[in-house]
């Protein structure tokens, strides 16, 4: 429950609106995408987290001052071969976390590719965050904080170094995304469903009920 408590000012039963947002995690394999989600949703960490095939789906709710935000999280497979499935998951997503491993320079390059792809293909208003995971093994770092930070600023991304193992910055990055999401009065269709047939699906904006 640590994750929930840390999710901001929790005010159960308050007169908040509940908004659902679809969030997708992308990045090279074994950088810790599933571990970040597991830490955020269940407060757990497994040293030997099994590889993800296709994608996994979880939800988690965080509370902001004026709204409750329910994340519908798609945790995708990292291996390059599963790339062709990715559009199915990021299409229509309002938020994305691109993850790399700070001890692996290659995964950072890969993350940049994902950012490019999202800028090109995903909905234009998507809130993107860059997470440099495995910050607990900073002594083996090959990607400097400044380098990643500069890149994030150039591309207007949220950026944090995280550690699913120690839970450092895990809730924070989700909270930061939540705060940037448009919580408007507009009524939208419930998201969550993944549309595989309509590549040109338009951004629905917020979806509060």
């Amino acid at each position: 429950m640590a994750a929930r408590n840390a999710g901001g000012a929790a005010r159960p039963g308050g007169p908040n609106r509940t908004c659902q947002f679809k969030l997708v995690l992308l990045g090279e394999s074994a950088v810790g995408k599933s571990s970040l989600v597991l830490r955020f949703v269940k407060g757990q960490f497994h040293e030997y987290q099994e590889s993800t095939i296709g994608a996994a789906f979880l939800t988690q709710t965080v509370c902001l001052d004026d709204a409750t935000i329910k994340f519908e999280i798609w945790d995708t497979a990292g291996q390059e071969r599963y790339h062709s499935l990715a559009p199915m998951y990021y299409r229509g997503a309002q938020a994305a976390i691109v993850v790399y491993d700070i001890t692996n320079q290659e995964s950072f390059q890969k993350a940049k590719n994902w950012v490019k792809e999202l800028q090109r293909q995903a909905s234009p208003n998507i809130v993107m965050a860059l997470a440099g995971n495995k910050a607990d093994v900073a002594n083996k770092r090959t990607v400097e904080y400044e380098e990643a930070n500069a890149y994030a600023e150039d591309n207007a991304l949220l950026f944090m170094e995280t550690s699913a193992k120690t839970s450092m910055n895990v809730n924070d990055i989700f909270m930061a995304i939540a705060k940037k999401l448009p919580i408007g009065p507009a009524q939208g269709e419930p998201t969550g469903t993944v549309d595989m047939n309509q590549p040109q699906q338009q951004q629905k904006g917020s979806c509060c009920k």
Binding site: S29, A30, G54, A55, R81, M88, T103
Partner: protein, 927 residues
Amino acid sequence: MSSTSSFPKSFGKLYVNILLYHIFVIWLFEYYIYQHLIVYFRSVYFKLFQIQFYSFQIMGSFPNFGAFVLRAQEKTGRTCINGLPVASPSKQMLGRFPYLQSLRHDNLSIYVHFSETVIARDLVIVVIEHHSESLGDVLKAGELKDENRKNVLYLEISSAMDCLHRNGVVHGFLDVNSVNISKKREEITAKLSGYGLPLVQSVLKSIIHIFSFLTNYGKDIASSMKFGVFLAPERILNEDESLFLATYQSDVWEMGFVLLQIYLVSETISKNSGENICLKGATLEPDISETEYLEILNKNFTDDSTVTSTVMDDIIQLLIDKKRLPYHKKCEWLETVIRNCLQMGCSNRILVPEIAERIKENVGSIPSEDNVESLYKLKTVDEMRARVREDVLKDYDGFEKLSIDNSFYLWKTCGSTPEIILLKKGIIQNHAPISSYPSIRFDDFNQIDQTVDSQSTFEYGVFELPKERTLAKMEHGLKVSAKMFHKIGVNKDEDHQNENILYETASNMLTIEHFLNSTAVFGVSSVVSSLSSIGVISTQRSDVWCTLLDVDETKWRDYLNLDVLASHSSDRQLEVDIPRCHQYDSFMTTPAIQESLRKVLKGWQIITESDNYVYWQGCDSLATPFLLANMSKPHVAYACFKEFTHRYCHKFYLKDNSEVIKEYLGIFYHLVAYVDPVLYKHLKSNGFDAELFAIPWFLTCFAHELPLSKLVRLWDETMIHGNAFPLMIALAMLNRLRDKLLSVNFNDMIIIIHDQPDLTIDDIIKNARGYENLIPPSCTFRVHASPWKENNSGEVHCLMNSMKGLSLGELAQLHCPRLSSEELIWRIERNLIYIIDTRQESEFQTEHFSNSFNHPNNNHEADIDWLRFLPGIVSSELPKCFLYGKNDKEATEKLAEAYVMKGVPYVCILHEPFETIKNKDPFVVKA
């Protein structure tokens, strides 16, 4: 009481006593009790009597198991290159154990079990086939009378050592006490024990560690059992290094001493120097002290390795001096061999294969009454019958036929573990943590008077595990006869439905073994029905899978020639995937098994690369069960993996597999529509596509979704079915969650389907079988399906199939499966189908299938009332096939969809229009 005379003679005095007692009791009954009571008691008594008789038989042939404890040294704080902690020494040993366990030789005691202890992280328990007598005992008892017996021992020991060395295993612990002796009737057989293990003994009051295979040449081990006095000189010299190696050469030295001791032993009186000395039970050990031994070594020691210097003559001389040399028949060739074994310089020693060769030359091969070759000599059926009769007459009790692994499996089934037994007997003692604290500690790190250096201590030596419990359970409530072990040809319902699970298991083991042997003659199909009713026992899984997958050495020959160590484009991916693959299984956490998995996957990639196959995440999960079933044989695991994926995951691992997977998922949803249209509608209307949850199911054939214990059971079943069986399993998985899924929306659906902790595999198997019977085989047609077909299924599975593949768009448009016209005809012939003909009435009148219903398709609307009107159709599980004319295809597809969406099950559509169906004439009614 005439029947008693038919019992075999071999059950000994105790039995005879009981026999007499029983005769006496029954005699009393006969005289003092009413006639009808006698009859009753007799029958009851006779039952008891038989059980008793059987228990003696079992005692005779159920093997003994011995357990011993090793301490693995903890090296903490080390990490791998990827930052994960290095596997503990006990884990590392666990991974190497299967290889040791796989060694088979008539003269090796077989290792059957290795486990880490729960109580102490650094203790491990090894279980090995055990015989209570050692060669040392036999020598002491003076039982080695004649030269023939000695010759047999030379042969047996040298050939066992030859086997070890050829397999790259150093014994490290060879002396007369580590050679067990198995006695059967009058024969004695040598069984080398404790090979490949680390050993420790205080020699000259210091701890010496000796290492070999299992312990990575000792790097993982701190202490273990005692070993003999006559260690090779180089091992004693290295004492101060505290860690040093047992080598092939040191084995030769120690083997020399074993041979020498057999050679010199004499049962009677030696006539030496005119004195009569009783040397019954002579062994070198009490006659030559450690000091004397070291003196001899010292005398012969030389720095110059080119100088040959053997200690044999000094040993003999010393015995002569002490007047302890027994009388023995001089044997020149053997003395030469031993002399060459006992060379001070390692490099001057003879090698084990050469010793084995020399001994064979001079002794000849062991005469065997029962060798396999004699079987091949049988030419006629009559001869074979006679042989079988002969075998039956021998007093087999069935257990003799169980392999040692199976016997240990039965032992384990009785509920105890070696660890619990060793704890109860005080062999392993657990101490309070405080007892491992030193009394004095100074300067931060120095400590003295530490009485216990680990929280647990244990006694050295091999301890025989009790087997009474197993045997008692086996006999419980049974009338047992040797024949009953074979169920073959016996109607299962007749009298074998007893509740003795242990006995049933043993019987099943033998039955499966029999079937596996019979496949060579009768083919795999003969096995299948029996396998699915009996179930597979883990010790036999490797053999069963190989048989079902038709894997033999031709299938792995290519793998053995590969360079699986060369770098490969998938290296990085394997490196990150393998350490997190099925990590809840203790074998999968060991470096040795992970390395094997890497080799299997790499080998598979190199070989299938030319077909455009590549490693997909998930292949690791899929290959794991095969590796765990064949831990010491990665090449077999490779062959099974390749064949299994060829059959059940065909083309899934192509570089571009999207066509294949999408077709598979499309067909899967058609089948959902066929068996459960209500659920199908719900899934579809929620946008809950198969892509979102079923990719890992099919891509890994459930290996990524289910824990291994459940998975292997599922695969046991899968392998006896056709290539569409994974679809049936998926239907069963979906059906299990049906009610939950129907009551929730998209988000919860996804969460429910990804999390199935309480899944009962028996139910899944049962339902999957049910679906296979329910669904017409041609409905599972896929263009990309494996060309492999099981050949034991029914006629309907073997029909021709003229279906063509659909484009992915067409597949998506369709909401029910397609039926082939061949199957349609087949079903019409047997009245196993409802045909709904959607052509206009006029066309229908001109020509139509007999017993078909006309449903002119005017508005694409489903008319449930019309359907209800048809006799029996609503309650029937037979397919309802929509039939169309050449211009009505799309319209009929719409109509079929409408019926599916109204919740009508078992709807399918013919794959071609009425006009083009071949061979339909006999079944067509014409105007």
